[in-house]
């Protein structure tokens, strides 16, 4: 083969438009260098400062390029409204989660160890769990994950999307195994997440192969064209789409691909759980929306029944199983599964006029849910006894008498999850269900409303337990949070309140951003 310049051109890359993720990748790389060369005592302040500055810089760049609407890097990355909106969301939620990750006053040396793979229960593991000056690897990992998520929501072809999926998944697997307390549970969570995640990635990759077999292209726009014009067998398309959907729905924690969620949410260090619940959800749904709206819009009618079924299953299973939980982290995990169902309802408002509203309301939902869930897990990190966090629900009995402020805060967040008016939970559910109604998905809305009522029960049970029970012998105390956790809690609770009272600015913003570039 003769290579000529015409045949092979360097792609045009708009570095400014890509700068948010480039900043994060760059900062993460510097973070690795800091780990390798800075003295032990200085790593924590340096890493925290570096992560915060880079995240703020990424957010500033997102705002500065907010009006960019173009494909760049040879069509591999789309910088458009939804991509920038979700990148901004990821940066903000990343900052809030970082504040929880960086908290060191609750536990000397912070909630992380340095090496995830040391055999649990050995002498080496005990030694590293007692160290006070290690465990700063989590900051570069967090930045790599966030950079990967940003690429994931703006990827415009399937291979870029797959690479981004791996870039954000691998750090997450590792971060799950870094808990200082309950090492074995943490390692179990990491291994489970890794194995199941690897399966999901394999499905995703095989789906790409099938789609390539059908369309002869991996670019979203080309797939969109091919669905109309290709003479290949459509079974390849459906097979590929199903496999792709498995990969994406796994990350989104939709039933029946949800089995990892409770175990991983429970075993992972709570700040990492908060990060996963908020940011992974944004990334997974951002990518799902892009795949469905940009590449497979013309198969939306065929998709509707399948994804609708998954949405119903997710809402029902998530809310019913949440009722039976006795551990607060598992309860929040099942609540997160049910919320994935509500988000799928928003995703399903695809096709025709619902396109725009479905997209805008889903993005609004992601922001609202992200803030609430980070704050909720933030409160979970505070309820502790000598063995670390006390997550069993029976231990929370009578917590309201001991510390009314944090119990009140948690109650407010639970009410937001339950969708009580004047909280962001109400406005976001209202927006999503409204969009689904507008596109004629009344059955989904009815089921969504029913499951919301079911889901309100476990939340209210916790509220009753916290306020109306007598504090028992072993009710733990609520630790006084340091400045970082306080800031994270304040931001999360304020956003939950503000998006409940005055959602219009963000609704307008998401509505203006809700236009994909093909």
């Amino acid at each position: 083969m003769i290579l000529t310049q015409e045949a092979l051109k360097l792609p045009q890359i708009n570095y400014v438009a890509l700068s948010p993720m480039l900043i994060l990748f760059g900062a993460a790389t510097v973070g690795v260098l800091v780990e390798a060369f800075a003295g032990r005592g200085r790593r924590y302040p340096v890493q925290l400062g570096l992560s915060l500055v880079s995240l703020v810089a990424a957010l500033v760049m997102v705002v500065r390029v907010a009006h960019t609407r173009e494909l760049t890097a040879g069509g591999a990355v789309a910088v458009d409204g939804p991509a920038l909106f979700l990148e901004g969301t990821l940066a903000v939620l990343g900052i809030v989660a970082l504040l929880l990750v960086a908290e060191r006053s609750l536990e000397p040396g912070g909630p992380f160890v340095a090496v995830a793979a040391v055999t649990a229960g050995t002498e080496a593991d005990r030694v590293q769990a007692q160290r006070r000056d290690a465990g700063t690897e989590v900051y570069p990992l967090l930045l790599f994950a966030l950079g990967g998520m940003m690429l994931f929501v703006s990827a415009n072809d399937l291979l870029t999307m797959f690479v981004a999926l791996e870039v954000f998944s691998l750090p997450l697997y590792l971060m799950c195994g870094l808990a200082r307390r309950r090492r074995l549970l943490s390692q179990e969570a990491a291994l489970k997440y890794f194995l199941l995640g690897a399966f999901a990635s394999a499905f995703f990759l095989f789906g790409i192969a099938m789609i390539y077999g059908y369309a002869g292209q991996i670019n979203f726009a080309a797939i969109h064209e091919a669905i109309q014009s290709s003479t290949n067998d459509r079974i390849l398309l459906y097979l590929g789409l199903a496999l792709l959907a498995i990969g994406l729905l796994f990350k989104a924690a939709a039933v029946p691909f949800h089995v990892w969620t409770p175990d991983v949410y429970q075993g992972a260090p709570t700040p990492v759980t908060a990060f996963m619940a908020a940011c992974t959800k944004v990334a997974a749904f951002g990518a799902l929306l892009r795949v469905i709206y940009v590449a497979f819009e013309r198969t939306a009618w065929d998709l509707r029944l399948v994804i609708g079924g998954i949405a119903v299953l997710t809402m029902v299973v998530g809310s019913v199983l949440a009722v039976t939980q006795t551990d607060i982290k598992r309860l929040l995990a099942y609540s997160s599964i049910a919320n994935a169902g509500y988000l799928l309802v928003g995703v399903l408002a695809v096709g025709g006029n619902g396109n725009h509203d479905g997209l805008a309301s889903s993005m609004f939902y992601l922001v609202a849910y992200g803030f609430s869930v980070v704050a909720a897990f933030g409160v979970v990190t505070l309820v502790r006894d000598a063995d670390g966090e006390a997550t069993h629900l029976s231990r929370w009995a009578g917590l309201g008498r001991r510390s009314p402020l944090y119990a009140g805060l948690f109650t407010f967040l639970l009410l937001a999850f339950a969708g009580i008016p004047l909280t962001s939970g109400f406005t976001s559910k209202f927006a999503v269900f409204g969009a689904a109604l507008a596109s004629g998905q009344a059955w989904l809305v009815v089921l969504g409303a029913i499951t919301s009522v079911i889901l309100a029960f476990p939340y209210l049970r916790v509220v009753v337990l916290v306020w109306l029970s007598e504090p028992g012998e072993n009710t733990p105390t609520v630790s006084i949070p340091g400045a970082l956790t306080s800031a994270a809690l304040a931001i999360g609770a304020l956003a939950t309140l503000l998006l409940g009272i005055a959602p219009q600015p963000l609704l307008d913003l998401s509505s203006r951003a809700a236009e994909f570039v093909r």
């Binding site: 290579l3 310049q5 390798a36 060369f37 067998d233 079974i235």
Partner: protein
């Protein structure tokens, strides 16, 4: 209009002849293989005498006719996995270096290509640097 299930079946049948047709042989081989294995074991089961019991040595490990030494569960320390990681690092690197070397000499590529490859190799070298500083390369 045919139902979705009907369409799926028809589509699958058509697929057998089309893009996925070449996999039909593989599928057939798998089926035949499974059948041969089940058949052989089934015949074995039917024909052999049934002698339940637990005489000494029946469940011992078989080691080429010699008396077995020790149990069959041995733990192996996987010290090499870190080296495997590092190998993967550089195997991936070389995969990208070959096409780079091909386009390098084309007009318009020289300097840009060098810089881009410098960044790529630099990031990979960073991983090695980190491993080195964390004393991964030292044999313990």
């Amino acid at each position: 209009m045919r139902s979705t299930g009907m369409r799926l079946i028809v589509g699958t049948l058509r697929c057998m002849r089309g893009y996925l047709g070449s996999y039909a042989t593989l599928g057939l081989l798998l089926v035949v293989g499974a059948a041969a294995l089940t058949g052989a074991f089934g015949v074995n089961r039917l024909l052999r005498p049934g002698r339940p019991g637990d005489p000494a040595g029946k469940f011992a490990n078989y080691e080429c006719g010699l008396d077995p030494v020790g149990g069959d569960w041995a733990q192996v320390q996987i010290r090499y996995y870190l080296y495997a990681y590092l190998y993967v690092l550089f195997a991936v690197e070389s995969v990208f270096l070959f096409p780079w070397a091909v386009v390098f000499a084309l007009p318009g590529f020289g300097r840009t290509a060098v810089v881009e490859m410098g960044i790529f190799v630099g990031v990979l070298a960073l991983g090695l640097l980190y491993a080195w500083r964390k004393r991964v390369l030292r044999w313990t």
